[in-house]
C-alpha cells in the first residue's frame, strides 16, 4: 500500500498532485508582496551595487569607474571623520540608552499606582515626530536664552555652547537621541521582564536573596535574549542616525556631528554624486553586517536561551 503511493521523497503522489494544483494559487497570493519587494527593495539594492562602481550625477550617463569610488572613500578624510563620529555616537548612545531603558523598565515593571500613565509618558517621545522633537531640543540648547543653560546658570554654571562647539555638539545630540529612543527599548525590556516566571523570584525571596541578587542571578540571564535583541537593533539604529543631525546641526559645527548617513545624503542629494553615495552606502552596510555578525558570535558567551 505504502509502496503504491509513496515517492522517493516520502510524499504521496496525491499530495504532490494537490501541491502542484495549489502552486498557481500560491504564486498568485505571493505575487503582490514579492512584486513590492522586488520593485522597492531588491531592484534598488542591486542597482545601488551597480551604481557604486560608476560615476553618475543623475543627468549624464553613468560612467564605469571600477573600484575608484571605493578607493576614493578610503582616501577621503571626511569619510573617516564621519565614521569616527558615527562610532562616537554609537558608543555614547547605545550603552547609555540601554542602561537607562533597562532601569526604567525594571522600575515600571512594578505594581505601582498610575504605572500605565508613566509607561505612556515615557513612550510618548518615540511616537512624536523626530523633526519636531529636534526643533524643540534646538531651542532648549540655545546658548543665550535656552532653558538648559538657564537652569545651569541658577547653579552658577556659565552658558555652554551645546550645538555651537565641536566639544559639546555630539554629546548634545546623543543626549537628545537617548531621550527620544528611551521608550522603545523600555517597552521591549518590559515585555522581556514580564515573560520571566514570578515563581523564580518568589523562590529566591524564600531563599533570602536580596533585590540585587535577584536582578543579577535571575533577571540578567533570563533577560539576556531581550538584551541581545535590543543591543542589535540599537547599534543598527545608531549607525543610521540622520534626522537629529539634519535638523539640529546640519552636520556642524565643522563636521563634528556629521555622521555616515548624513554624509551619504549630502553626497547623493546635495552634491549629486550618486555613484560615490552608493559606495558609501555599501561600506555602511559592510560595517553594520560585520558588527551584527560579531554580536551573533559573541552572544554565545552571554545570552541564555534556557
Amino acid at each position: 500500500m505504502a509502496a503504491r503511493s509513496s515517492t522517493p521523497g516520502g510524499m504521496s503522489f496525491g499530495r504532490r498532485l494537490r501541491r502542484m494544483h495549489d502552486l498557481p494559487w500560491a504564486v498568485l497570493f505571493l505575487a503582490p508582496s514579492f512584486l513590492g519587494f522586488a520593485v522597492f527593495t531588491l531592484f534598488p539594492v542591486l542597482y545601488s551595487a551597480y551604481l557604486s562602481f560608476v560615476d553618475w550625477n543623475l543627468i549624464r550617463d553613468p560612467v564605469w569607474v571600477g573600484f575608484d569610488n571605493y578607493r576614493k572613500a578610503f582616501n577621503d578624510p571626511l569619510f573617516w571623520k564621519v565614521m569616527r563620529n558615527t562610532f562616537s555616537y554609537t558608543a555614547g548612545s547605545v550603552p547609555l540608552g540601554m542602561a537607562l531603558s533597562l532601569g526604567l523598565a525594571v522600575l515600571l515593571n512594578r505594581k505601582l499606582r498610575g504605572v500605565e500613565i508613566l509607561r505612556t509618558l515615557y513612550f510618548l517621545p518615540v511616537v512624536s515626530s523626530g523633526v519636531a522633537v529636534a526643533m524643540v531640543w534646538r531651542w532648549l540648547y540655545e546658548p543665550n536664552f535656552g532653558l538648559i543653560n538657564y537652569v545651569l546658570s541658577l547653579v552658577g554654571i556659565d552658558p555652554i555652547g551645546w550645538l555651537t562647539t565641536t566639544e559639546w555638539a555630539m554629546p548634545a545630540i546623543i543626549l537628545m537621541s537617548v531621550w527620544k529612543g528611551l521608550g522603545q527599548s523600555m517597552v521591549i525590556f518590559l515585555a522581556g521582564l514580564q515573560s520571566i516566571p514570578r515563581q523564580l523570584y518568589e523562590a529566591a525571596e524564600i531563599d533570602g536573596a536580596s533585590r540585587w541578587q535577584q536582578f543579577w542571578d535571575i533577571t540578567r540571564p533570563l533577560l539576556s535574549p531581550t538584551t541581545f535583541f535590543v543591543l542589535v537593533i540599537s547599534i543598527i539604529g545608531s549607525f543610521q542616525v540622520f534626522s537629529q543631525v539634519y535638523v539640529m546641526t546640519n552636520g556642524g559645527p565643522a563636521n563634528s556631528t556629521s555622521t555616515i548617513v548624513y554624509y551619504i545624503y549630502q553626497k547623493g542629494f546635495n552634491e549629486f554624486q550618486m555613484g560615490y553615495a552608493s559606495t558609501l552606502s555599501w561600506l555602511l552596510f559592510a560595517v553594520i553586517f560585520a558588527f551584527t555578525l560579531l554580536q551573533m558570535r559573541l552572544q554565545r558567551n552571554w545570552v541564555t536561551y534556557d
Partner: protein
C-alpha cells in the same frame, strides 16, 4: 423592428454614449470650448515659503487674465534644497518642468549639462525681446560660457540695517554710508551687551559665513575669475588681512553670533527683529519682514568699506528646460514674468531689485538709495560647474576659523589646496 433598431443593441448604445461623452470632453461638440484645443499647459518649478508661493499664484492669475492660450501650473518646493533635488531628478527622469527658477550658484552646473535651453535659441525669431532691456549685472549673472541661460527674475545686493533705538540708547551717532570697517567694529563693540557670559545683544551680524565682500573691500580678489575659476587667490596678504578682520568679529571681538548660534536662534532676520542684533548686513528682501517691526525703528545705509567698496550680488532667474515639449509657450511666460507686469509682482513688495530697466523706472518700484548705490560695486562671487562640491568645503573651513580651530590664513591656504584640484580636474 427596423434594421437600425435591430442592429443598435445595448452594447452599441453604451459605446456611442461613451464616444459622445469623450468627444464632448475634447470640446468637439461644444464650440464655446474650442479654445481648449489651442490651450498649451506648461509647468513652472519654484521654491519659497507661503508668502512667496502667494506671489507665484498671483503672477499666474495675472498671466492667465492677460491671455487665453497658455495655462501655467506652479510646482513649488518649500526650500531651495528640495527644489534643486526635484529639478535634477525630473530632468534625469526625462520629465522636467517647462520653466525652472534657478539661483546663480548652480546655473553653470545645469547649463554645462544641457538641462536648460539657451536664450539665443529661444529668442532666435523673437523681435519683441532684447538683452539690452536688462541691467548688465543681472543679465551677466545669467550668462555662462558666452550664452544667456535664462532671464533674470530680480537680483539682490546688501546694505547695513540698523536698530535706531539701540544707537540712541547707547548714545551713539547713527551709522552713515561713509563708515569704514573700524567705525563698524567700534560701534559693534559698544552695542554688544552681556549679562555675565550670556550675550543679550550682538552688535552686528551678517547672517553667517560671508567674508567675500570683505575681501573685495580690502582691494583683494577671491578667485582668478568668477566663472569656472581655476585659481584661489585668498592667500594674497590683502585677502588674508580681510579674512582675519572679518573672522575676528566672531572670535576675538565676539560682537557677532556664529552661524550655529544663528541657526539655533531661528535666523539672522529673526535675531534682528527680536532686538538681539543691533546691526545687520542683509539684502533688500529683509525690508519685507522688517516692515512688521513695531517695537523699534530701523534704517538702512551702505555697508562699511575699507580700501574700496564691494558687495556680493545674489540673483535668480527663470530658465526654460531643454527637455520641455512646450518651449515656445514657456518662453512667452518667462518673458512675461521678467517683463514689467511680472517684475511688479516680485519686486513690488520690496523683495529684491528689478533686473528690467523699464521696471526700475516705475515710481512704485523705487529702490532705497543704499541698495541702488550698491548695484554699482556688487558682483557675483562664483559660477562654477563644481559649486555643489566646493560649497561644503568652503563652509567647513570658515566654520573652523570661527570655532578657533584654525586661523584665517590657514583656512585660506587649505582652500587653495583643496579647491584648485577640484577646479582643475
Amino acid at each position: 423592428m427596423s434594421t437600425f433598431t435591430r442592429s443598435f443593441n445595448r452594447r452599441q448604445a453604451i459605446g456611442l454614449g461613451a464616444a459622445v461623452a469623450a468627444t464632448a470632453g475634447t470640446g468637439v461638440l461644444l464650440p464655446r470650448r474650442t479654445f481648449a484645443q489651442e490651450t498649451v499647459n506648461i509647468t513652472w518649478a519654484t521654491w519659497g515659503g507661503a508668502a512667496q508661493a502667494q506671489l507665484y499664484t498671483q503672477a499666474i492669475e495675472l498671466f492667465h487674465a492677460a491671455q487665453d492660450t497658455i495655462r501655467v501650473s506652479n510646482i513649488n518646493s518649500p526650500d531651495f534644497e528640495a527644489h534643486n533635488q526635484r529639478t535634477l531628478t525630473n530632468a534625469a527622469g526625462g520629465n522636467p518642468a517647462d520653466i525652472v527658477m534657478q539661483p546663480g550658484e548652480l546655473l553653470a552646473n545645469y547649463a554645462a549639462q544641457g538641462v536648460f535651453e539657451p536664450v539665443s535659441s529661444l529668442a532666435a525669431n523673437d523681435s519683441d525681446w532684447s538683452v539690452d532691456d536688462y541691467f548688465e549685472n543681472p543679465i551677466g549673472a545669467m550668462t555662462w560660457n558666452d550664452e544667456v541661460w535664462g532671464l533674470p527674475k530680480d537680483f539682490n545686493v546688501n546694505a547695513l540695517y540698523f536698530n535706531k533705538n539701540a544707537f540712541e540708547e547707547a548714545g551713539l551717532a547713527l551709522p552713515t554710508s561713509d563708515w569704514t570697517w573700524d567705525d563698524l567694529l567700534t560701534n559693534a563693540q559698544a552695542l554688544t551687551s552681556r549679562d555675565g557670559a550670556r550675550v543679550e545683544r550682538y552688535g552686528w551680524s551678517d547672517g553667517g559665513i560671508a567674508p567675500w565682500q570683505w575681501v573685495w573691500q580690502n582691494g583683494a580678489e577671491i578667485f582668478d575669475q568668477y566663472q569656472d575659476p581655476t585659481e584661489v587667490l585668498l592667500t594674497d596678504p590683502a585677502a588674508v588681512e580681510a579674512l582675519t578682520y572679518y573672522f575676528n568679529l566672531f572670535t576675538e571681538e565676539k560682537v557677532a553670533p556664529s552661524p550655529s548660534e544663528l541657526t539655533q536662534a531661528g535666523g539672522r532676520q529673526e535675531l534682528f527683529m527680536a532686538g538681539r542684533t543691533a546691526m545687520l548686513y542683509d539684502h533688500r528682501g529683509a525690508t519685507v519682514p522688517f516692515a512688521q517691526i513695531t517695537n523699534f525703528e530701523w534704517d538702512i545705509v551702505e555697508m562699511a568699506h575699507n580700501v574700496e567698496r564691494g558687495g556680493t550680488l545674489a540673483f535668480s532667474g527663470f530658465c526654460v528646460s531643454s527637455g520641455s515639449q512646450q518651449k515656445e509657450a514657456a518662453w512667452e511666460f518667462v518673458k512675461w514674468l521678467t517683463g514689467v507686469d511680472g517684475v511688479s509682482v516680485f519686486v513690488g513688495g520690496g523683495n529684491a531689485l528689478p533686473a528690467l530697466k523699464a521696471a526700475a523706472e516705475l515710481p512704485e518700484l523705487a529702490v532705497q538709495e543704499p541698495f541702488r548705490n550698491a548695484v554699482d560695486y556688487s558682483r557675483v562671487v562664483i559660477q562654477s560647474q563644481r559649486y555643489a562640491e566646493i560649497a561644503p568645503i568652503i563652509s567647513t573651513e570658515f566654520e573652523s576659523v570661527i570655532l578657533g580651530k584654525e586661523t584665517a590664513e590657514q583656512a585660506a591656504t587649505n582652500l587653495k589646496d583643496k579647491l584648485e584640484p577640484i577646479f582643475n580636474s
